[in-house]
Symmetry: C2
Amino acid sequence: MASEQEFRAGERAVTPPEPNDAALTFIGRIRTPWMSKKETPRQGRLDGPECQIEILPLWLPALQGLEAYEFVEVLYWLHLSRRDLVLQSPKDGTVRGTFAMRSPVRPNPIGTSKVRLLGIEGNILRVQGLDCLDGTPLIDLKPDRCRFSPLGDVPDNAQSPD
Amino acid sequence: MASEQEFRAGERAVTPPEPNDAALTFIGRIRTPWMSKKETPRQGRLDGPECQIEILPLWLPALQGLEAYEFVEVLYWLHLSRRDLVLQSPKDGTVRGTFAMRSPVRPNPIGTSKVRLLGIEGNILRVQGLDCLDGTPLIDLKPDRCRFSPLGDVPDNAQSPD
């Protein structure tokens, strides 16, 4: 796929090894209002449009207790992204290393977002704060690390990561 | 591996599908002072001990520009974790869903940390804030989403995720 794509000035690709160090299972799918890369925001906003996260039925019991959290960290697979660029040029014309950007193009195209949890109904989470295409595969959900304890149950080190 | 491990009261496992939806390539390795699960902290602290992140030489150019950031998001593969628990019981005796915890045990055992970047020398990053075992495989590095622009270059939506 990489060969079909164009380079901007200053961009550089490498030939990465076959990705076979670990394997993922998709645990659900994300529904957003964005149907093309062009209209997808560069970063989510906690006051952005409501999106849905659909969990596969197998994993439903794993949601138990998540409703107590206001903010959830979401990991998803950026399934349309090439994986071989080490230098990238955003629209502003600068050239930067892939690890100095939150671009979807990276060796392991995993996106992370902090979302506001509006509600859970069955296997559907309603959230705000996403920035990915409709249909993006879901990898993981966890309480956001900045507030990882439910109200009224704050462990000693709850504030440490900030 | 799951059958060799014990359950605590209230814990529940499922039989997950073979993880073959996407594949990861390890891009480096993390060096920490923690050699066993027992001594590894439950969550990193930004004033914790200095750790090293070693990048494979192939990806070295992708670090360009990362030195401008004070906080970096690190994704790593929790290589010793089972993947089949939907309900878990932490030491406090409660039972919670896997997605309501930041436990390393999860369908896709990926850990995320926000670290303070102390310096980069060659392919080694010196950081504070990690909470993983020595030797943990590295998956990704990106500027932390809370402060994702270098000083002096703040886009319009820089503050949106908070």
